[in-house]
């Protein structure tokens, strides 16, 4: 009877996201359950509320084995954590500054340099607001050590005169761009630590007014191409720059009336998501500058960070209204919103999260097992989807038995998507096996598991081939 316009929130696909807020807390939000219908909930909260430890920047390297999460805090420390259980790997203080004066503006944890498991080192790139950038690598000693021995480090100053407020490293991790208040966007080559390109501000508009440069967010457009990037300014403009073409922006358009606080690119290389200071989130086609649509969902606070899920068509946005919202990319519908009590500053997806129906209580250890598993079984040499596929492989191969003559890849993909379709009975069996092996084995006990698993798979493969 009361007249209401409800926003019905269908659930979201199984995923796991980490949010960082201004009291230094890291909250883990997981959505588990049927495919596409899960309600996300806060499952863990790491850290104690302390405003001096408020998180300024975060970066995740979610590879299968030994994933790392780097977090930069306001008091100058940079902590590297294990994103599965929040355990602290090590913490360093930014030695170049006195803590509060020169806060970190950008942080990136390199992934490609750590592909070999033997060398357990991690490399961090940090950039502070005064323009001091440094690359440091640390050796990770085996147990969760509190002090890390620092390896090599390079420091250089990227620019004076203003304060940096946004920085990004591209997918191939060779180039690094940044910009800020009174600092033009510039692209640096990381190997040589040299500036290769700087932007030029657009000319005066017809009234003769020259707006001062103030970039508030930036992102590379596509993971293969380091030459194009999108930047958002304080005066509600979104600009596309192309390094190989010219120094002035190629396309530039206005969006609403408040500063563009965050920009994120989509996987297809030409769609971007823009969030501004009054909570409006929209997607644009950057090739033409056309607005594809706004995401309507009662977001009333500035959007500080947008993250795109690597597999599902889902994006997450978080901001000053203390909500984490998950949206469907295609239909621009709000999938769900989680209230998180503090002003949020960053959100990151953890892509190595696969949900299974009979998933029991211990997600971290479970995933750790599967991590080790998939690392050991790298025979197929796939991409990030490996982990999910492997865990689904057990079920996927059962599907194969039913649907013959299908490519294994396809089946695994389907297996990954259709959680509920495989018969529960068989799955439980496999789960029980996993479960029984779970308790005794820790990280080091993976070998036993692996052999058992592989033998199982072989058996089933035999079955398939014969059937």
């Amino acid at each position: 009877m009361p007249r209401t316009t409800t926003l019905e929130c269908p659930g979201c696909p199984p995923l796991r996201a980490l949010t960082f807020d201004e009291l230094g807390l890291i909250k883990v939000i997981e959505a588990r359950g049927q495919q596409g219908r899960a309600e996300p909930k806060v499952v863990e909260r790491w850290g104690e509320p302390d405003s001096s430890k408020s998180v300024l920047a975060a970066s995740i390297d979610d590879r299968k084995s030994d994933p790392l999460l780097a977090v930069a805090r306001r008091n100058g420390t940079i902590e590297v954590l294990n994103p599965l259980n929040g355990g602290l790997r090590f913490a360093v203080t930014n030695s170049s500054d006195n803590g509060g004066d020169d806060p970190v503006a950008g942080l990136h944890l390199f992934a490609k340099k750590n592909s070999e498991l033997a060398s357990r080192s991690c490399t961090l790139l940090t950039c502070t607001t005064n323009g001091n950038a440094s690359i440091r690598s640390f050796e990770l000693t085996k147990p969760a050590a509190d002090v890390a021995s620092s390896g090599s480090s390079t420091t250089w100053s990227v620019g004076a005169g203003g304060s940096i407020s946004c920085s990004k490293v591209d997918r191939s991790e060779n180039y690094f761009l940044f910009g800020g208040k009174r600092v033009e966007m510039s692209v640096w080559d990381l190997d040589s630590c040299a500036k290769i390109w700087t932007a030029k501000p657009p000319p005066k508009n017809r009234l003769g007014i020259f707006t001062p440069t103030w970039f508030t967010s930036a992102t590379f457009l596509c993971k293969d191409d380091h030459r194009k990037f999108v930047a958002g300014t304080n005066s509600h403009e979104v600009r596309l720059y192309d390094i190989s073409a010219q120094r002035r922006p190629v396309i530039s358009f206005d969006f609403q009336e408040t500063a563009i606080k965050s920009v994120a690119e989509d996987l297809d290389g030409y769609t971007i998501y823009v969030g501004n200071g009054s909570g409006d989130l929209a997607s644009f086609d950057i090739r033409t500058g056309k607005l594809l649509g706004c995401f309507l969902g009662k977001c009333s606070g500035s959007i500080r960070s947008i993250a795109r899920h690597p597999d599902f068509p889902v994006i997450a946005s978080c901001g000053l209204d203390s909500y984490l919202r998950l949206w469907n990319v295609k239909t621009r519908q709000l999938l769900s919103a989680v209230y998180l009590k503090q002003h949020l500053s960053n959100v990151l997806f953890d892509s190595n999260f696969a949900d299974e129906e009979a998933e029991i209580v211990n997600p971290p250890t479970d995933r750790l097992q599967r991590d080790e598993l998939s690392v050991a079984e790298r025979d197929e040499g796939e991409t990030r989807r490996v982990k999910k596929n492997k865990s689904k492989e057990t079920n996927g191969s059962k599907k194969e038995a039913k649907t013959k003559g299908r490519n294994k890849e396809e089946v695994s993909i389907f297996g990954g998507r259709d959680d509920g379709e495989t018969p529960p009975v068989k799955r439980k069996k496999s789960k029980e096996n996993k479960g029984s092996e779970k308790e005794p084995s820790e990280e080091s006990g993976c070998k036993k598991l692996k052999s058992k698993k592989s033998s199982k798979r072989l058996n089933r493969a035999d079955v398939d081939s014969t059937s």
Partner: protein, 350 residues
């Protein structure tokens, strides 16, 4: 409208000892009759029937109560009418009393130093650029309400410059009274040094001289009453308002300033009170929308508080809350009201 008619039908079928039952489905909606005279006749008849039913029900209820009282039993429970406040949409951002993140957040926010009495509030009041008639009067009254406030003329300074100036001179808050059509209509409360900016819409302003039997405020520090700021956003606004007044737990004067939040409107009232012994009278509390620091009274010899209103009376409604100081272009909003957020009549944010 369809809903109303359904309700009416249902009530008629329920109340139904009266009317012959077959009327249930055969009943013609008055709105379907095209002939105006006939329609109004049918409607009038329906209304009269409903009125009779209602009276009968009320009589029956009173009779039952009286009987129960006479027999010494419990009277049947009184039904509570549904109000919009009763049926307010459940809001998950309501502050819970055991929330440690809330306390940590409070410690860390911009007002904590004033609220912990480490520093004294010092307010700068100014106006918008074009100022006239009611503006200065209202400001004079505000100066008497808020202790330790000073008025500076606006001149043609930029608001950002004024914020810098106030920071230099160690003010803790800045209030800008904005007038429109010769009436004050917006209030901007900026916490300093880097504090949030709250933009309120001001309405229903009644100055002191227009209140009958008004009193004159003394210069004691007032007691502050903040009612009904339940959600996190409301809590933050409550602390913002609290930071305008000095926090003195042992207050001496009998002066009270009340900010009462109801349905997202904040009502401001300013009273002087006095406690008295009263004999037999029972004072009813005033209407729902006005709040007083009421003392309840019982049958004999109880202490009640008598109030005398002094000072202006106005209502505020929050339009937006910005994270830093006033900055329209580059500002980040913590909360801004958007029409798409009004999904129902029972949803409130403060």
């Amino acid at each position: 409208m369809g809903g109303d008619n359904n309700r009416r039908k249902r009530s008629e079928s329920d109340g139904g000892g009266e009317e012959p039952p077959p009327e249930r489905k055969m009943d013609v909606l008055p709105s379907m009759i095209k002939n105006k005279e006939k329609r109004s006749a049918v409607h009038a008849k329906l209304k009269q029937q409903k009125k009779l039913e209602k009276r009968k029900k009320a009589k029956a209820r009173d009779a039952a109560e009286k009987r129960a009282l006479e027999l010494g039993e419990e009277p049947p429970a009184k039904k509570i009418p549904k109000t919009i406040e009763n049926t307010r949409e459940v809001d998950e951002t309501v502050c819970k009393p055991d929330d440690e993140e809330l306390f940590a957040g409070n410690d860390a926010d911009e007002f904590s130093s004033i609220l912990k009495r480490e520093s004294n509030p010092k307010i700068l009041i100014t106006t918008c650029r074009f100022n006239s008639s009611r503006g200065p009067e209202f400001i004079k009254e505000l100066l008497s309400v808020i202790p330790n406030a000073t008025y500076y003329k606006r001149g043609t300074y930029d608001l950002k410059k004024i914020v810098e100036y106030a920071n230099k001179k160690d003010f803790t808050s800045l209030i800008v009274v904005h007038t429109n059509r010769r009436e004050p209509d917006a209030l901007l409360i900026i916490g300093l040094p880097a504090g949030p900016t709250a933009h309120f819409k001001l309405s229903k302003l009644v100055l002191r001289k227009d209140i009958k039997n008004h009193g004159n405020p003394t210069s004691h520090e007032p007691e502050l009453v903040l009612n009904n700021f339940t959600t996190r956003l409301g809590h933050r606004i409550g602390r913002l308002i609290q930071s305008l007044f000095p926090q003195e737990p042992n207050f001496r004067g009998r002066r009270v300033v009340t900010f009462h939040n109801q349905r997202d409107f904040i009502f401001f009232r300013h009273h002087r009170y006095i406690f008295e012994e009263k004999e037999t009278k029972q004072i009813e509390s005033k209407g729902k929308k006005t709040k007083d620091a009421n003392g309840e009274s019982g049958p004999k010899g109880k202490v009640i508080a008598r109030l005398q209103e002094c000072g202006p009376r106005f209502t505020l409604k929050l339009i937006s809350l910005q994270h830093g100081t006033f900055d329209t272009k580059g500002g980040e909003y913590e909360w801004v009201h958007k029409p798409e957020m009004d999904t129902s009549r029972r949803r409130f944010f403060l």
